[in-house]
Symmetry: C2
Subunit: 338 residues, 2 copies
Amino acid sequence: MKITLAHGAGGRETEEFIKNLIIPTFLYRNIEGGIGLDDLEDSAVIPISSEEYLAITMDSYTVSPIFFPGGDIGKLAACGTINDLAVVGAKPIGMLDGIVVEEGFNLDELKKILRSLESVLRALRVPLLGGDFKVMPKGSINNIVITTCGIGIIKGSPIRDSGARPGDKVIVSGTIGDHGAVILALQSGLEIESEELFSDCQPVLPIMEKALKIGGIHAAKDPTRGGIAMALNEIAKKSNVMIAIDEKRIPIRDSVRAYCDMLGVDPLSLACEGRVVMCVDPKVADDVVEALHSIGQEDARIIGEVCEEPKGYVVMKTIIGGTRIVEAPSGEIVPRIC
Amino acid sequence: MKITLAHGAGGRETEEFIKNLIIPTFLYRNIEGGIGLDDLEDSAVIPISSEEYLAITMDSYTVSPIFFPGGDIGKLAACGTINDLAVVGAKPIGMLDGIVVEEGFNLDELKKILRSLESVLRALRVPLLGGDFKVMPKGSINNIVITTCGIGIIKGSPIRDSGARPGDKVIVSGTIGDHGAVILALQSGLEIESEELFSDCQPVLPIMEKALKIGGIHAAKDPTRGGIAMALNEIAKKSNVMIAIDEKRIPIRDSVRAYCDMLGVDPLSLACEGRVVMCVDPKVADDVVEALHSIGQEDARIIGEVCEEPKGYVVMKTIIGGTRIVEAPSGEIVPRIC
């Protein structure tokens, strides 16, 4: 059997592949009292004292093209890892990177990528502690692949995908699918105007910090590969709840919707790289939305709520008045989207 | 300007590239009281209490061929990261991996690689806590690249490259250049017999634990890219000492020497993947060697000593009776050696 693009696309096949092939291979997958491989959370978690946990996460970035409206692979690699820490409630304290480039790669482009990565870390005062740099001969890798590892500290309890409770409001922190749409459009060879289509790539740490200050955040995810369709399905399954969302409330840019229509893809399954979906105590949900508006996340809104049944499903009330099940995306989705 | 293979080969150009390009790009590079990017140690170190440090390291493995006598890319990725933790005196507590494969990659080969990686972790009871899995379209990556991140705990003080002191004995834990020779021979298309040429790829944790139990370990490195030539030059520079080694004492397999002669390379600059060079208090150096023999490292021996002057140099007494300066290797050395 051969590996297909779908195995790495972040949808159902990736989940099955990890559950059926990777997890059973490893005898040791967790540290007692922590969150490990089986949990498939955004970060692994290691208890370090009675009140603190260490969060650690790692992602490989293969995005193509490496420069795109709204960012580049360097910014993406920094944000993606910061975001995986942020959504479990961790404050990032350090990052490492493993950079693999093709022989003949342009040095100025590499500098630009490093500066992008750095500017994200600088703004959050996160040090780059170390890493690795390798060059592969011409033709054995396309451009550049960056792997980043981030570590952070959680004071109190980690936020889990399994924490959503019936009655919670589902909040999305901004428009969805922006990153996926721009990458997909570029890969499809479409001409795009950067004023109308650009990645949402940004660190969600300020969003999470603001929301956590208010409290009542029961579950949170950054909806990257597989989009909010994947993220909400994971929360629904792990929390053993149903998530009901309302299509007309989901913030989607007109330009993203137009490109999605043109390209025949569902914006719900397109990656975001600077958004959070959270399940929030209904008593404070409006306060959280308002707080997010106050820090420039003006499209943050409640898009649905957490219900009891049917457990493990995401159901959407559509604009035309019906309801449909939002499945975890399947197939190739978009290769090299992040 | 273009990136060359030498920039990623682990020799002088890599060092200069990191010092001149990567380090100046990043404003934040350390955590107070820790070891960060500037230090170019095998692991970064973060203080977590008055008696404990967290060590963290990350490496990208691009070795070609991916299967070789003595190991494969999975075993290498596990050992390499474990070893970077071990040589700073850390006990590994967890690992993450970022796997990027080419579309169409053989599933059975992937399983074999994962099992190799796992068997290293299993033997040391180190859990795989999480990671990432991506697939790149056919032709955009050759086979597979694995990045591993390891974290460990240091009780007491980290072992630093800068810790060598005049009078210390230089110990190597086994034969040198085995890994580099086999990869280079395979890349050169030579027929090799696996009984005579095989990688030394193994975790050095038992070696370090045994040595640390005796004490007096002032500096330690696993001599990977650039071999012991690079490792000793780094120690000499950072410790501000001269290191004098004796060629006739350096353990090199006859087969490795023969292939090196045939290929025109210096075994001192060839990667090892299961060895440690250490600078050890002369009072306990013989005990350390004996202890290493007792755990199956039968080729461990003292190969030289640390002197005062000329600072920053590695000097070798040659078999034919002269002396020569052992420089940090330069140029392409061997691409995709690890």
